[in-house]
Amino acid sequence: MYALPAAPPPAPRRQLFVGTALACAAATTFFGGLIALFVRFRQEALSVTEGEWKPAAAKVPEVPTNVMLLAFLFIGIFAQWAVYAARRQHKGGTALALGLVALLGIAVLNSQAFVYRQMGLGLGDGTYQTMFYVVTGAFVALLIAGLVFTVVAAFRYLGGRTSEREIISAHAMYWYFLSAMYVVLWFVVYVTK
C-alpha cells in the first residue's frame, strides 16, 4: 500500500444538483427529438399540394395555453423564492414558495387536461393527432416528475433537513428547464401549430 497523504473530509460537491442538470440535459434531447419529428412531419404534410396537417375542425384553445405560459413564469419566480428563503433558513417562506410551485404545477396539469378535452382529438385519428399527444404527453410526464420533485423537496426540507439546501436549488433548476421546454412546446405546437 502506498503512503499517499490523507486529506480532511472534502466539501460537498453538489451531486444532486449536477445529477439534476444532467437529467435536464438528457430530457432536453428526448423532448427536442420529439419536437423535431413533429416539425418534420408537419413540413412533409404541408409540402404536398393541398396537404393537411392539423384537422381544420381541431381548434387550439388559446386562453389555457397562454395561461400555462404565464403560470410557468410565476413558477420560476416561486421556485427561486424557495431557494432564497432556504438560504436564509426561513422555513415558512420555503414552505409557502414550494406550495405555490406545486399549486401552479397542478394548475398547468389541469389546463393541459382542459386543452385535451376541448380539442377532442383521438390518439389514432391521424399523424397530427399522434404527434400532438406524444409531444404534449411527454411534457405532462416531465411535469408530473416535477411535481413529485417538489413534494420530495418539501418533505425533506420541512422534515428538518434544513441544511440540505441543494435539493431546493436542484428543484428550481428543474422547473426552469420545464419552463424553457414549455416555451418551445407552446411556440411549435400551439402557436405555429
Partner: protein
C-alpha cells in the same frame, strides 16, 4: 454527504452483518446480496458478466447468419424471419453487449480511479442494470415470439418496443451515475486535467450516452403509440428497423467505443512506467471521438453525394460540414489518440496482455472508423451494401477485445487474483483474427455490391461463398475467444495466483488500495498533486528504470 467522505453509511457498502462484520452465509443470502447490492464493483461485474453471456449468443447468431448468406439462393432459415434475426443481431450486439460492457467496466473502475468510496447514485446504477437486463431479455423473447422489427405478432411487436425502451432507460441511468461520479467525487487535488485517462473516456462516453439515448427513447415512444393505434406514420412493423437502425449503426456506434481509447492510453502509460507524453492532447483526442454522439442525437447518417464536385459552394458545404462532424471528427480523434500512443510507445513499453488487448481492440475500431468514413463517400457507391456491416463489426468486436483487456488489467483489483499473461495473450490474437475474418470480407463484398442486412443478394462477380464463409468462421472464432476467456477468467480469478496490490506497477489511485478492493474502496481520502499520483511516490523505480 459525498461519496468521498471518510465514513460511509449505506450507499456503496456491501451487505455486511452490522454486529459481527462478517458476510452473511448461505446461497440465498448471497443471491439476495447480489440482487440488492449498491456496491459499484458488483453492479459493474453484473453488467460485464451479462454482456459477455449475451456476446456468446450473438456470435452464434452471427455464425448462423453467415452460413445463411453463403448461398444466396438456398435458404436454411425461414426467409420471413430474416429481418427479425438481422435486427436481433444488430440490436443485441450493440445495446446488449458493447454498450453495457463499457458501462460495466466504467462502473467497476471509475470510482476506484477517482479515489472515491462509492459511486454517485449507486441505487440508480443498480436499478439501471436490472432495467437493462429485464428489457434486453424481453427484447430477445419478443423477437423469438415473432415480434420485433418486421414481426408478425402485433402484441410481441409492441412488447419489443416497450422492452427496448426499458433497456435504454437502464443504460441511461447507469451512464448518469458514472458521469455524476466523475464530475463530483474526485479526490482532493484531482482537477479535470488530472482525471485518469480511462475515467476521462468514461465521462465522455457517459455524457454521450446521456444525450444520444434519450432521442432513441423518444423514437421508441412514438413507434409504440403509432403501432398501438394501428397507424403507419412510421412504416408499421416493417418500418421499425429503419427508425432504430441509426442508433445501432455507423457512425452512432463509434460513441460506444470511446472507453477503448482511454484504456489504450492508460495501459501504454503503465507499460512504459512513464508519464504519458502530451497527455492533454490525448484527452482532446478522446473527446473528439466522443463527437460521434451527434449522429445519435441528430439521428442522421450524413454522406457525400456523387456529384459533390459539381455543386455550388453553399450546397457543397451543406454536405461537407455534416459529413466532417459525424464521420471525420471521430476518426480524427482516433488518429490523435493513436499518435499519442505511438509517442508513448517510443518509451519501450513492457509487453503486457492488457496493452496488447487494448492496442488490437483500438486498431480494429480505427479500421472501422476509416471504413465508416469511406462508406459515406458517394463515389465509393457503397450505400446499402455489407460494407457498413463490416465497419460496424470492426468497431463492435474491436471494442469488446479492448474491454476484455480492461478485465485482465483490473481483474486483480476486482478479484484479488490475476490471469497469467502467457495464457491470455493467445486469446488477444485469436480475438483479432476473429474480428478481421468477421469484418474484412464484408469490406470486399461491399465493393462487389453484396446487400447488407439481408441473406438474399444478387449474384456478383467474386467469390461470394468464400467471403461469407470467412465471416461465419470469424463469428465462430469470436464465440470461441469469449468462451475461452470466460473460462480462463473464472479459473484464474477463483483459483489463480494471488495478485499484489499493484501488480502492473500502476500510476493511478486504484492501485493504492488493497487487492481485491474493500467494500468502501479506501481507508483514507487521498490528496493528489499530479495525474499520476503513484508515480510521484516511486520516481526511482519508474522513470529512472526506463
Amino acid at each position: 454527504m459525498t461519496t468521498i467522505d471518510p465514513h460511509v453509511t449505506g450507499a456503496g457498502v456491501d451487505h455486511v452483518d452490522a454486529h459481527s462484520g462478517e458476510r452473511a452465509d448461505g446461497l440465498l443470502a448471497s443471491v439476495a446480496d447480489w440482487i440488492t447490492t449498491t456496491d459499484h464493483k458488483k453492479i459493474g461485474r453484473l453488467f460485464i458478466g451479462s454482456s459477455l453471456l449475451l456476446l456468446l449468443g450473438v456470435a452464434a447468431l452471427g455464425v448462423l447468419l453467415g452460413i445463411e448468406r453463403i448461398d444466396a439462393t438456398d435458404a436454411m432459415l425461414d426467409a420471413g424471419a430474416m429481418p427479425q434475426l438481422f435486427s436481433l443481431y444488430r440490436l443485441v450486439l450493440t445495446f446488449g453487449v458493447v454498450v453495457p460492457f463499457g458501462l460495466g467496466l466504467a462502473l467497476t473502475i471509475v470510482p476506484l480511479q477517482l479515489g472515491a468510496r462509492s459511486l454517485a447514485f449507486p441505487r440508480l446504477a443498480a436499478a439501471g442494470f436490472w432495467a437493462w437486463l429485464l428489457g434486453t431479455g424481453m427484447v430477445i423473447g419478443s423477437i423469438v415470439a415473432n415480434g420485433g422489427p418486421g414481426g408478425g405478432d402485433e402484441h410481441m411487436v409492441q412488447l419489443f418496443l416497450v422492452s427496448m425502451a426499458l433497456a435504454v432507460v437502464g443504460l441511461v441511468a447507469a451512464a448518469g451515475s458514472i458521469a455524476v461520479s466523475v464530475l463530483t467525487t474526485r479526490a482532493p487535488g484531482m482537477n479535470m486535467r488530472r482525471v485518469p485517462l480511462f475515467s476521462w473516456s468514461a465521462l465522455v462516453y457517459a455524457l454521450g450516452l446521456l444525450l444520444a439515448l434519450p432521442v432513441l427513447f423518444g423514437v421508441l415512444v412514438l413507434l409504440f403509440v403509432d403501432h398501438r393505434n394501428g397507424r403507419s406514420t412510421f412504416g408499421g412493423n416493417v418500418g421499425i428497423a429503419g427508425w432504430l437502425r441509426v442508433s445501432a449503426s455507423q457512425p452512432a456506434t463509434v460513441l460506444y467505443a470511446v472507453p477503448v481509447f482511454g484504456l489504450l492510453l492508460e495501459t501504454v502509460a503503465t507499460a512504459t512506467r512513464k508519464r504519458l507524453p502530451m497527455r492533454g492532447v490525448g484527452l482532446i483526442g478522446i473527446g473528439l471521438v466522443g463527437t460521434a454522439l451527434f449522429a445519435g442525437v441528430a439521428q442522421v447518417d450524413a454522406g457525400l453525394s456523387r456529384d459533390l464536385i459539381d455543386l455550388e459552394l453553399g450546397d457543397a458545404l451543406r454536405e461537407i460540414v455534416p459529413y466532417a462532424v459525424l464521420n471525420a471528427l471521430p476518426l480524427l480523434g482516433g488518429v490523435v489518440v493513436l499518435l499519442v500512443f505511438l509517442l508513448a510507445a517510443a518509451g519501450r513499453p513492457r509487453i503486457q496482455s492488457p496493452l496488447l488487448f487494448s492496442f488490437f481492440g483500438a486498431g480494429m475500431v480505427l479500421v472501422g472508423l476509416l471504413g465508416n468514413a469511406v462508406y459515406h463517400v458517394g463515389d465509393a457507391q457503397l450505400a446499402g451494401t455489407v460494407f457498413e456491416e463490416g465497419a460496424w463489426i470492426y468497431v463492435s468486436y474491436g471494442t469488446v477485445i479492448a474491454l476484455l483487456g480492461g478485465v485482465v488489467y483490473w481483474g486483480p483489483k476486482i478479484w484479488g487474483r490475476s490471469i497469467a499473461d502467457k495464457k491470455v495473450l493467445p486469446l488477444a490474437l485469436l480475438g483479432v483474427l476473429a474480428t478481421i475474418l468477421a469484418s474484412l470480407p464484408y469490406y470486399i463484398a461491399g465493393f462487389a455490391d453484396q446487400l447488407g442486412d439481408t441473406a438474399a443478394y444478387p449474384d456478383y462477380s467474386g467469390p461470394s461463398e468464400l467471403w461469407n464463409t470467412l465471416v461465419a468462421v470469424g463469428h465462430g472464432l469470436m464465440a470461441l475467444t469469449v468462451l475461452a476467456f470466460v473460462g480462463l477468467a473464472v479459473q484464474s480469478f477463483t483459483k489463480g495466483e494471488r495478485a499484489g496490490d499493484d501488480p502492473w506497477d500502476g500510476q493511478t489511485l486504484e492501485w493504492a488500495t488493497s487487492s481485491p478492493a474493500p467494500a468502501d474502496n479506501f481507508a483514507d481520502v487521498h490528496v493528489i498533486s499530479s495525474a499520476e499520483p503513484l508515480l510521484d511516490l516511486k520516481p526511482a523505480r519508474s522513470e529512472g528504470a526506463a
